[in-house]
Amino acid sequence: MSVLDRGPREQIQVLDEAGELVGDPPSLSDDELVAIYREMKLARHFDARAVSLQRQGRMGTYPPMSGQEAAQVGSAFALDEADWLFPSYREHAATHVHGVPLERTLLYWMGHESGNRMPDEANVFTIAVPIATQIPHATGAAWAATLRGDRHAFLCYFGDGATSEGDFHEGLNFAGVFDTPTVFFCNNNQWAISVPRERQTASETIAQKAEAYGFDGVQVDGMDPLAVYRVTREAVAKARDPDADESRPTLVEAVQYRFGAHTTADDPSVYRSQEEVEEWRGKDPIPRLETYLRETGRLDDERVDAIQASIEEEVSAAVDTAEGERRPHPEEMFSQVFADLPDRLREQLEDLERLRDRYGDERFLKE
């Protein structure tokens, strides 16, 4: 039986909090399992470095993702290269799995226009900062793929807060009506800044909202990477190639927790208790998978240390690359507004260049 046939109120788990196998594991090779572990470790380390860069004034506001590694890595791992990923603004790990280099993510949060350019070879849509707006985009792109006869899946991320927006309803409704190959992946991390999940919706679960749109909804332990992978993999397969009685879209609710602040501008101690944070830290996805991999002989101290060393090196290299990038030229503000630069924009750029020449850049830059 597909896990997607479970009721939307029954949470799917493969590894329990102690790393014990409690459900059917997905079919993944040893190398793939270790790769998932490595990506999660990389994400955790990247996150700590990014927060530290912000604290040191080397980067702007940054949204941390610690605690959410299993949901991001497990789900993005379920995509094939030709499938598409539609991120919100916190999917640093998921986008990395699907081909976005870490330095690109750093540059975006460092305020460089180049950070907004996804690599041509990565099927990743541009980051959505407004809430839930990417949901109808993912539905539309998936719809277009079916019109073209392409068999790709479209994985769209958003948070629990996003389910309150009109765009959530409209995007899922269209997906149901037009049977689009979209997997709606809700990173339910319990808090939309200071507002708890219970205040976003009176529904018992978010997954059950799918029933009203006419497709499957499933709740998964979002801090269990193997359960997340399994659910997403099945949802992606169904999106591409459903049985006669199946509809393509799926809503996945991945129940998880952000250990840190909403962004580096937020102080979560104002609205949630340390006890609550500690309780969820007990579900930390990384030791959970590490325990399982050690106990099944796939990891040992030596391999764990080697992985740790390699991810630290990879993150350091990305930080060096991003910080080595020169301040963008003001021309970048103007160059991609339209396919062709209109006269009025050309004149405005020329005016700015004339003023920079006349007065010097130091009269424009605050720091």
Partner: protein, 327 residues
């Protein structure tokens, strides 16, 4: 009279507090305005003092926040919804434009919408994408809305109280760049600053410079620098963009015969065009030079590494004013 030295954002809080004490129909609602006290602390302590029925953490849904506020206002309350950043106001745009602004007209006065939509706006704080825009012109363009932008703590409290007491919907935009830039004496008791009245921040005879919000301070700095060169600027802070204080604009322009407008918003379709039209209509024969528009560019607001180029800087403002004076 007792007073406190407050920042602009503290004056927002003080104004809300004053009106919530005065009138139990005033309620505050929005994302993170309750327990968290607002992401900029504009509603700090209000939840503890007035409770969760009057300081309401809502689901994350701007159309829902403003749409339900319209219903509350029509029923007789005085809602003050907060949109967390102006860049996120657009899901509520339909509610503001199609409904709040026209409820009185459409119902022939049977239903009204005494609501104040508050939102921080503007750039310069190294914020993420979509957090820095200045799109006041969208709202000024809509008949039936009032649009207010304070630039000092004193005005903030007085204008906010006027807005809450106003019988019609007001979009109250707060320049977040100067939320904590300086302090000013703000009386503890209630007072109002009337909507629709500009303030002359600096008197001068050579050129009128019209501005508002965070640009007022930058413009004042440019004006002082130019004074050292012998150029005497009159700086007019419009404070209310709709209805515009045409009398103040025309009076200043008749005195100087020259004008510049400074705003963060993009040039095309921005308020500088409207102000230029007003001086043409009302004081053409006094005009000695083209009106200079010193504004944001006609580009999407850039990520923050380029925002210092985007925003009118002291150097750009001085250069623009010199163009007008030397014409």
């Amino acid at each position: 009279m007792s007073a406190q030295n407050l920042t602009l954002v503290q004056a927002v809080r003080d104004g809300l507090h004053t009106e919530m004490q005065n009138d139990e129909d005033v309620i505050v609602l929005g994302e993170d305005v309750g327990k968290n006290g607002g992401v900029f602390r504009a509603t700090e302590g209000l939840y503890d003092e007035f409770g969760g029925d009057r300081v309401v953490d809502t689901p994350l849904a701007e159309a829902g926040i403003v749409g339900t506020s319209i219903g509350m206002a029509a029923y007789g309350l005085r809602p003050v919804p907060e949109i967390q950043f102006m860049g996120f106001i657009y899901p509520a745009f339909d509610q503001i434009i199609s409904h709040a602004a026209r409820l009185r007209t459409r119902s022939r006065g049977r239903f009204t919408c005494p609501m104040v939509v508050r939102a921080p706006y503007g750039g310069g704080i190294r914020a993420p994408e979509h957090h820095s825009e200045s799109k006041e012109a969208f709202f000024v363009h809509e008949p039936g809305l009032k649009v207010v932008i304070p630039s000092t703590p004193y005005d903030t409290k007085g204008l906010l109280i006027s807005a809450v007491r106003d019988p019609d919907p007001v979009v109250f935009l707060e320049p977040k760049l100067i939320y904590r830039a300086f302090r000013e004496e703000v009386p503890d008791e209630e007072y109002t600053v009337p909507l629709g009245e500009a303030a002359v921040r600096r008197e001068g005879g050579d050129v009128s410079v019209f501005t508002w919000g965070a640009m007022t301070r930058v413009t004042m700095e440019a004006a002082e620098n130019l004074a050292a060169e012998g150029v005497d600027c009159e700086v007019v802070d419009l404070r209310t963009l709709s209805p515009l204080d045409r009398d103040a604009v025309v009076e200043s322009f008749r005195k100087t015969g020259r004008a510049a407008v400074v705003h963060e918003a993009p040039k095309t379709g921005g308020l500088a065009g409207e102000l230029t039209a007003i001086v043409q209509e009302e004081a053409l024969l006094y005009q000695e030079a083209p009106v200079e528009r010193i504004t944001g560019f006609d580009t999407p607001y850039p990520l923050y590494a380029l925002e210092d180029y985007y925003l009118p800087s002291v150097a750009r403002i001085e250069d623009g004013i010199r163009n007008v004076v030397e014409y």
